[in-house]
């Protein structure tokens, strides 16, 4: 750092005055926050507060649904992903995503699933590279030991928790900068949930992780900072209420609504 200009990490996400809507319903209104690189940020809040919509806006998946719109900017490493001339396909190549329900591709084997991101982008892999990459991604997702003898079998034969780790392996095999997770444990049993949480703790060293969760204990366990969203009622726009280091948000929230929510008084 030779000048006073702040250096923006390549995987830092800056959201500024961002709003997104479905038709005439605004799901999330005027949100500004900065997600620091190589850390875990949790989005928490009651159902319908727009946290998932905001997450899906970061990799421009929100706009793939019919009749949706958005305003404001989301910068990845200083570049607006909504800027003119930016191809959403390229944005998604840098921002991976893990969904609520495990969704491995049913027509593909475990190894094909892991490599699907690379192959879907038209890159050809030699057999040796493919095997190395698959092993690396599966090891990173803590799944290698469980599946190394059945790489050719369909991914649908794994347990729910294993399938979700397979989806994480699939997402990191393309080496994104940011990993978005939309309630990744809500369809899993407690044991699988612990496995995923441990994995998140490892992933934060190399990726910027953003996780949406309904589980406040989980947010406390896995995240470095947390953003609390709330809505005045069903159908009304969600707003960012408070954004702070996780420990502080849960121990001494600045807003009454946050205090009520983290204490379990509503939501």
């Amino acid at each position: 750092m030779t000048t006073a200009t702040a250096v923006i990490a390549a995987s830092q996400v800056d959201i500024a005055n961002f709003s997104a809507s479905y038709g005439s319903t605004t799901a999330i209104d005027d949100v500004s926050l900065t997600i620091p690189a190589s850390s875990v940020t949790a989005f928490i809040g009651p159902s319908g507060c727009g946290k998932s919509t905001l997450l899906r806006s970061i990799n421009r998946l929100h706009e793939t649904l019919p009749d949706t719109s958005s305003t404001g900017s989301i910068r990845l490493g200083g570049t607006d992903v909504y800027g003119t001339g930016i191809d959403p396909v390229v944005v998604r190549q840098r921002i991976g995503m893990v969904f609520q329900r495990p969704n491995p591709f049913p027509a593909m084997s475990i190894q094909e699933n892991v490599l699907s991101g690379v192959r879907l982008r038209h890159h050809r892999l030699s057999k040796a590279t493919a095997e190395m990459l698959a092993e690396w991604a599966l090891r990173s997702a803590d799944l290698w030991g469980e599946v190394k003898d059945r790489l050719g079998k369909p991914g649908g034969g794994l347990s729910g928790g294993q399938q979700q780790r397979l989806c994480i392996a699939r997402a990191i095999a393309v080496q994104p900068d940011v990993l978005l997770m939309d309630e990744p444990c809500s369809a899993l049993d407690p044991v699988s949930t612990v496995a995923i949480e441990d994995l998140i703790a490892q992933l934060r060293r190399e990726y910027t992780v953003v996780i949406v969760t309904h589980n406040m204990q989980q947010a406390q366990r896995v995240s470095d900072q947390a953003a609390f969203f709330n809505t005045a009622g069903a159908g009304l726009p969600g707003r960012l209420v408070e954004y702070a280091p996780t420990e502080r948000l849960f121990s001494e929230p600045a807003e009454q609504a946050t205090a009520d929510y983290v204490a379990g008084r509503f939501g």
Binding site: N103, S116, R121
Partner: protein
Amino acid sequence: MAVASILKSRVEVDEWRNLVKARPRTLERRRRLANAAWLTAITGGFFLAVAPLVSVLWTVVSAGLNRMDAEFFTSSMRGVIGAGGGALHAIMGTVQITLASAAISVPVGILAAVYLVEYGRGAFARTLTLLVDVMTGIPSIVAGLFAFALFSLVFGPGMRAGIAGAIALSLLMTPVVIRSTEEMLRLVPVELREAAQALGAPKYRTITQVVLPTAASGISAGVMLGISRIVGETAPLLLVAGFTDSMNYNMFSGRMASLPVFIYSQWQNKGIDAAAYDDRAWSAALTLIGFVFVLNLASRMTSHLLTRKSR
């Protein structure tokens, strides 16, 4: 007694017993009668529906077995008057015409369905869906007349060729393929499309690498269904492919025989030895049913194999 532990007091138990006993005998009998009546109606309906099918199958098999010999499957009708001869020319014609119509209908049908499900929006797509529905019900003779008019305009009046028959049949098959493929594509979960897109896949790669392979077993079943729909069509082929007693492997020139038309002409133009013509017609009918049967079996097997792979 289990009930006693659920119901709180002795009084409640007594009340419950009275309630059960109090149910009138007549009510009980009415329920049994209604049950018996409906059971009879349902079983009767089943047999009513199956009886003609069994009867047709029995007649075709028993009458068709007479000529299920080597000669029937190895020779044409060229120069045959009376007994002997075979339907090889008609079998080959049916195979060629069916394959050619499938070659036209399958790509067109699948592409059209992909458009409707993945790209089509608004009034245009809705109109297209409506037209496909209308086309599903188009009478086969109309398809035949369309092909006849088309070929007459391009090649002069009275043109007959196997390919004209294939085009007429593909007109009937395409909507079946579109409809069934459409249904199968809609069954592919949105989550899979989103997963592929979130991996940075362009839309067309998502479709070719994820959506189509996931729906493959259903699509293949739909294709087989479409083939079964056209393999027994007579009227359009009578119009545009015509009939001949000889082999014709050239789809693009000259009349071409097919099994349904062969059956019709054997029946219609009997010679002196009428029984020989009847026997050939029945055997050809049995062959045609065998065709459809094998196709159905093949469709079940392919979809079974493709589904097993995905589990």
